[in-house]
Symmetry: C2
Subunit: 274 residues, 2 copies
């Protein structure tokens, strides 16, 4: 093998399968893991290929993978790269390793738990419910002193405020109140947020959140949330406040979601240690 990175479109550097290799990871005929024009890193492609086969049931829970060194030749990648992919799948709860024994597909229950807090949309998808929104407010206003501090902008700067009732199958579940610095995403005021995702707009505008700092607490329902949530003031609600930052450390989104206590439950799983 040549050293360094091969020209991504010239060399086919592994034999590989006709749909199924042994009991291991299978690849489609005529097409290897490596899509010559795929800009994604190899380890991402490898991870996606394996995860897809797990999701589709080609690799059932508990199945042992071929040995790393075998997988390497099958996929045509180095062991370091393969292990990076597998490590990624461990973090996603898809695979588990056992020193001296091998790699195993994780139990289905492990895969159903998000490794960070499950978002409203993810919950809906997992449960097969249809998420919808009713917009209460969508307007540009001037930043208060507190908001200016949070976003790191001048007080009085334009801030877009979006307040929505989030529903599952038409049943009101939560009130989402989000704020974005207006000049980060031009044209926000003209978007129909009963359908659109605020997060998608941020990503499209090049302000993708990468870190979310969250606090979660239980409170009594505030009077202004009682009507949209069909609750009495004082009834238990779960509030999650998040501050999201992009890769350049800009605060791009500040949101507070207020869930009906009896209609929503946050889920997460995490690895303990260090």
């Amino acid at each position: 093998m040549d050293n360094g990175i091969r020209p991504r479109g010239s060399t086919m550097r592994h034999k590989l399968g006709t749909g199924k290799d042994m009991d291991g990871v299978s690849t489609s005929p005529q097409r290897s893991l490596i899509a010559p024009d795929n800009p994604e890193p190899l380890w991402v492609q490898a991870a996606e290929l394996i995860e897809r086969q797990v999701r589709e049931g080609v690799l059932p829970a508990g199945r042992r993978l071929p040995a790393e060194r075998d997988l390497c030749t099958q996929l045509g990648i180095s062991r370091v790269t393969l292990r990076r992919a597998l490590q990624h799948l461990v973090e996603r709860g898809v695979m588990r390793s056992s020193h001296g024994r091998g790699w195993y597909v994780a139990a289905r229950s492990d895969r159903e738990w998000p490794n960070s807090l499950e978002s409203f949309t993810e919950t809906a998808r997992r449960k097969g419910l249809v998420p919808t929104s009713r917009v209460l407010r969508a307007e540009v206003k001037h930043a208060s002193l507190d908001e200016a501090d949070e976003f790191g902008v001048a007080a009085g700067a334009d801030v877009f405020l979006l307040e929505r009732v989030r529903m599952l199958d038409g049943v009101p579940i939560a009130v989402d109140s989000s704020r974005v610095v207006a000049n980060l995403v031009p044209g926000l005021a003209s978007v129909d947020f009963s359908r659109a995702s605020l997060l998608d707009e941020l990503v499209a505008a090049g302000a993708e959140p990468v870190v979310a700092e969250s606090t979660i607490e239980a409170r009594g329902c505030a009077p202004e949330h009682a009507e949209p949530l069909q609750l009495e003031p004082g009834d238990p609600v779960l509030t999650m406040s998040q501050t999201m930052t992009d890769a350049t450390d800009r605060v791009v989104l500040v949101s507070t979601i207020t869930y009906r206590g009896d209609r929503y439950r946050l889920r997460t799983s995490f690895v303990r240690g260090s």
Copy 2:
């Protein structure tokens, strides 16, 4: 450099510093990163060394690290190993990289956020408060059908039940109700849990939890929790239910913590993506 792993106690393979190297990571005189008898992986040692210097202020927030290739020679490790350490520190919120520019110490605020849900003990430490416990119940009982299912044991098997009021500076904050399969940790009934940590006992018994699946919700306070929490029934409480599993997939701990809504707030930060 020789190939493979050098004998960990024979070769000193890097020059290195007299307390401070340029503006970069400093190492103590007479002692390099590599403790010959340290069984920890090199990348863990490297990560700990850097994080220590960040915590102690030797590397202030925003400071740029020396280039990877320079750090490698300073620390006497390969670039792959160094990058593994740095990647680990990214996940812990200690460092950030900028393609083409360099590595930077993350803002202090980022480091104060736990990457998984902050535990009661961690909260106490962060705030400088003293965590204490009052034991309500500590007894061995027979597993109910539900408990048997959760733990994967036979109904009627011995289960240790521990119920405590958790306090900060003497103020009641939460009621913690935990269950452990009794034969996993012999002698549990004789431990004084007003001081001891149940988690520590599990670790000592070789049943260290590695994964915790958690659900979080807001409820009205149950009658039996009203007195220990000094609340009225129906007042908002935050409940977190956790199922912890060890490396061999055994369920080792099932717990429910009920926090006073007005006295506790969960904190977490996580990386979005994929």
